[in-house]
Symmetry: D2
Subunit: 419 residues, 4 copies
Amino acid sequence: MSITPFSTAPAAGTAWRRALAQRYDQVRACSLALAAPLSAEDQGVQSMPDASPTKWHLAHTSWFFEAVVLMPNDGGYRPFDERFLRLFNSYYESLGPRHPRPQRGLLTRPSLDEVQAYRAHVDAAMRGLIGSAGDTAWQALAPLVELGLNHEQQHQELILTDILHALSCNPMLPAYLPHEPPVLRLATPPPAQRWLAQEGGVREVGHGGAGFAFDNEGPRHQVLLQPYRIADRLVSCGDYEQFIADGGYRNPALWLSDGWAAVQAGGWQHPAYWLAPDDPRAPAGHWQVFGLSGVRPLDAAAPVAQLSFYEAAAYAEWAGARLPTEFEWEAAFDAPGIAQMTGQVWQWTRSSYDPYPGFRPWQGAVAEYNGKFMVGQVVLRGSSSATPDGHARPTYRNFFPPAARWQFSGLRLARDGTC
Amino acid sequence: MSITPFSTAPAAGTAWRRALAQRYDQVRACSLALAAPLSAEDQGVQSMPDASPTKWHLAHTSWFFEAVVLMPNDGGYRPFDERFLRLFNSYYESLGPRHPRPQRGLLTRPSLDEVQAYRAHVDAAMRGLIGSAGDTAWQALAPLVELGLNHEQQHQELILTDILHALSCNPMLPAYLPHEPPVLRLATPPPAQRWLAQEGGVREVGHGGAGFAFDNEGPRHQVLLQPYRIADRLVSCGDYEQFIADGGYRNPALWLSDGWAAVQAGGWQHPAYWLAPDDPRAPAGHWQVFGLSGVRPLDAAAPVAQLSFYEAAAYAEWAGARLPTEFEWEAAFDAPGIAQMTGQVWQWTRSSYDPYPGFRPWQGAVAEYNGKFMVGQVVLRGSSSATPDGHARPTYRNFFPPAARWQFSGLRLARDGTC
Amino acid sequence: MSITPFSTAPAAGTAWRRALAQRYDQVRACSLALAAPLSAEDQGVQSMPDASPTKWHLAHTSWFFEAVVLMPNDGGYRPFDERFLRLFNSYYESLGPRHPRPQRGLLTRPSLDEVQAYRAHVDAAMRGLIGSAGDTAWQALAPLVELGLNHEQQHQELILTDILHALSCNPMLPAYLPHEPPVLRLATPPPAQRWLAQEGGVREVGHGGAGFAFDNEGPRHQVLLQPYRIADRLVSCGDYEQFIADGGYRNPALWLSDGWAAVQAGGWQHPAYWLAPDDPRAPAGHWQVFGLSGVRPLDAAAPVAQLSFYEAAAYAEWAGARLPTEFEWEAAFDAPGIAQMTGQVWQWTRSSYDPYPGFRPWQGAVAEYNGKFMVGQVVLRGSSSATPDGHARPTYRNFFPPAARWQFSGLRLARDGTC
Amino acid sequence: MSITPFSTAPAAGTAWRRALAQRYDQVRACSLALAAPLSAEDQGVQSMPDASPTKWHLAHTSWFFEAVVLMPNDGGYRPFDERFLRLFNSYYESLGPRHPRPQRGLLTRPSLDEVQAYRAHVDAAMRGLIGSAGDTAWQALAPLVELGLNHEQQHQELILTDILHALSCNPMLPAYLPHEPPVLRLATPPPAQRWLAQEGGVREVGHGGAGFAFDNEGPRHQVLLQPYRIADRLVSCGDYEQFIADGGYRNPALWLSDGWAAVQAGGWQHPAYWLAPDDPRAPAGHWQVFGLSGVRPLDAAAPVAQLSFYEAAAYAEWAGARLPTEFEWEAAFDAPGIAQMTGQVWQWTRSSYDPYPGFRPWQGAVAEYNGKFMVGQVVLRGSSSATPDGHARPTYRNFFPPAARWQFSGLRLARDGTC
């Protein structure tokens, strides 16, 4: 398997190799830390075909290093268990057959203990390879290691979104982390949203500089933007509560056709993790929101999350606005006065997930990483409170189907023109 | 809730009460013993809507004592957790709303530890109630305790059938009990089957005497049988192998219409737990069978199991015979020379599961125990190797939909006439 | 193909042959008469997989004569169109591949004109064969002709039930025969139902005498009945209205488990063809019923129809009664005072559709006629207002799945004991 | 209902009004002419939820004039049948409830005769309104009439695509127009494809001038294109045959992820209307294609059609190329040497169907015309052999879900860079 280097230009020398080795340990440890509050039972559950068990995430991220880094590059490597190559392949057709995705939750074996041993086995081999690879080999290896770590960070966020979905299916609504201090319901509304005017014109977008980026972020290229305005902050739960109160979920004129069909088929009346005041699971007389800390009173100032694209687009329509395109979003990343661009919620854009001009996937097995999903999905920008530190970039293109409503996904408004 | 006594006529006095208390401990301990070889991960998995997690079985059988015995009869009883009343109700409409059956596998909480504590809580209360109930109360209570124990024994068999199904979905085919001595492939075929002629005429069937029986086994009544012959033994794996070799799964003329549709829709080519000689999960060059001890060579003398009614009926057609009716089966229970009537596999009969003349369900919550399932199902008689000791009776009516193929279910042949 | 004669013992001689020829013409003409009020558009529609277009019924009944009578017995016969052998085979595996049942409504070609020409082609050949067959051949042929005519009569009833279902899917609720005089809503309730006591004991059931019967009606045999009472009349619409008013569709305690699931999944609140007083399609302020003459006021004295077995069984439970078994029904056929046994609605019994002792299907292609459906269905007895004259018999066993609610199917009550 | 004028700037005066009246008659007559080769049976069939019966198209296009033009603008207009307002509304939420789309084929009533009378009723009223409207009213009316005619033209193409799909479901593969001269299989391959280099830079796209356009074609705006090459001709059946022969349908590396899933779920091995050499419906020993004239030998020079986007994208990948974006396609519309841009097959682009900068839907009921479908679909450009004359424009944006394969849809290749 021939894998071409990424755009990242690795600094030469031992220092950089040491830095990557250290980062490897940090990222790998972080996955286990995220799993730590969960029992083995919790880590085995799969609540829908689109979500995966924590244990599977822990194993799959190890499989990625095994199948993409170790086996092609370390002649002495012995797989921990040949059968895992099939069990923990996610979607790489070129790497052989896979266990069916909707049946990941049936894998009570290997046990969590065995998966942890698998991780340790891979870690030992990875540390050996990082330490011992010749300089030439290292030039080819380092980008793959970097990719593996970014891949694992993506799954770290999925560990949280997927377990949160599983816990939301339990009528007792147990918390992932029950001991966090409760968020009080804020009496004061969030500060008024302000519009930031952007001039438009030819702008550069996409990743083109140093450092790691996924293939779908390039090539860097010029786009021509019309003048627009973008909101300085995210749409808050308080904002969204008004949309609900105004009958937003009952007015088809606000919705895209597929969105309205989803509202009716699913009986949607509010975001997936909101509890109406009279919800029988935890009646409170006021809105509540289920999250990683369990059921908490709705915080009017917090960004609304776990929204589908359909809901985001309907809200924007109701607000007399629209969603920004992904390029408008990127061009405004450093706009004076703009806030909450990262670290809160992923922000649905009004851009379908299409390839950039000149896009070519990476070569080799990792060609399947991003490109083959470029139809039927919508781009989200920014990052969320569940995104690992250091993983976000202004050029980052996250994507999900428009009906997905179990991610930390919300929205920011935009409008045409500058006044 | 007023519950009428069962047909069982409890002997008076302390001795009988002590015996039932002892039996309570034995049966309850048996459930835990069956779960003991399984990890908490194993005990949480649900592999299809028709199957339940081991942990759910452990909790539901406790819920039954709580909801049917303790709460209506023990004024001082406090439920372990009010929410469990909903989580672990199986199908009793009169006892309130229930957690949806297909989502039992999503209940990672309560944990296995908590479920075990729930069992202990119920056990303590049950022991107290058995010990302290006045004699009059005891007359009403004892049949319910007896029912609860028989109910738990039914779920003990389901613990095994359901976990076996879950393990069968794992491509590694792990064993429930790996350390059992392997069964060798017997070189000698099973002894030839003999036909036992039965005279027919008016026979008494159904339960009518002392001892516990489910409501669906009565009333005892007369039926008129035509002369028939019944096989002295079960159909063996060796017999069934010939059916496969003769193209049994490819010949629609042998199958009921719904059965042939199931063959085609499911791609059936052999019993669900048989592995063809070239099965990629464990290629061996000869037939193998997956069971509680894992994958073992096919034992030609062992009764064929995990058959659907459709397969049983097709086999009988191929063999120029038919299945016995449930009354023919019961009338032949003590026929001279007959073997393998219990303790091997449940035996599909050619009787749909209809009510007996004069059948009335029990009253109260347990009215829903059996009667409401009396349509669309087929009667099985006997008992299996997974049935707890002492649970079988000649009048026992087990029932499953005709497509079910994850039980320890096989067949015995019958024919019209006596010669 | 070797086809054995039926139990019918054909009288020798020309007279009988002439009578059958005459009957052939009458039955065949009747099918066309039933189709006559329908446009070609009406005759092409298929409203659900379980129903078939009128045109398909017209063609399939001709195919039956072609494939079962003409092709095996008339060396000179040429099929009208070889492709029709596939298009109009219903479910006979032994007669080759078939057009998928759910796609019968897509066959806009052959046109209705061509199907009528097909009928004429078959009729001409049939008349020729009936007239010219040698006496020996006739002995084998006559039973097949008789079967073909009874088969066609079954489809005549299906022509009506299936088109009625299709018309019921049209929000304009058009009538099959709009010009029939309207039935007025009767102010007087139906006469009180009386119980007719039956003694029980050994009774003969099943067909055993002269004349045509389907294979599933035999062998004639003895059954042992317990004493019972049977209602002298059918349950009327007025009776059923009380069940609805008493919350029958909201009380799970009345329903079989599968029935209650059907109520909830389908939102059942009344029989399928009843219109509630505020139905938007034809609001009237009182109950109405859709039938072959369109929407008419509910006739309290008319038998309730288009009921599923689930609804029939729930009504009986609500009424403190039960359904008769098929043998109880047959034994009471000539009971003094009994009424409405035939010609009104088919009557659901409490008997699953199992084979009689000693049952063997006919041989040859027609072996598939009845036997292969003997699981998962429920027996109905009697006949309906849509059954052709002369087609009913006391031993007739009609059968449908328990959820079927588009037939002319209702119920009669029974009870245990004689007092 | 207030409806704003379209961008079209109607010339004043009687001449233009007369021209539109004439065009009304022509367009309306064309629909009937397209339906003329079809029997009433043919015109009633619906072969899948995404397709509609011919009769429904005839009625719906009349409903559009009735509901959008006549009822809001002609005080004296009386609907032909109030019930048709519901039956023939397609998807306009603001115009009231609708008959469910998948059940359009169940509407055997109104009959085809009645639908034709409905058309005549609407035509008379429309002619009256066009002739009598005052000049001010005319300014508002004329754009709606123009829209209604363009709407009807869209349905004219759907009449052909939908009936072709229905006929393709008939195993006899009947022809829409059997008497057309057969196309011979061309021995000579199509001329080699040439690449036309396009410079890129800032280009104007979208509709902005005079004449009718749909709202989704505007606003006209600038886009920035990278240099690219575009094929001078469409991909032909001969080209596509090589893709199949090279294992294109068996190589997951060529397919988008959703596309590969569709290949596997649907068993795709070639375009939907191609017949493999051994197809049992019409075995010929060579490839054939089913079309409006029935089954014909594959014409290697003809554009491949009835392709899904998935197949188009996989072909492009196999050819070492890609699909053009919709803007690249539009910018090359008049490129020297380019051919087959319209009148052959709609051409899938690599552009998801997103709104243009500044897009706002029309107001009033017709706001639902285009905008609400702007997610999850892919843009096609050009027009097909089934598109009515005069209906195509360089700015026209057709759109379908990526799995749709019953349209006259093919592809043209593109590549990055100019050399």
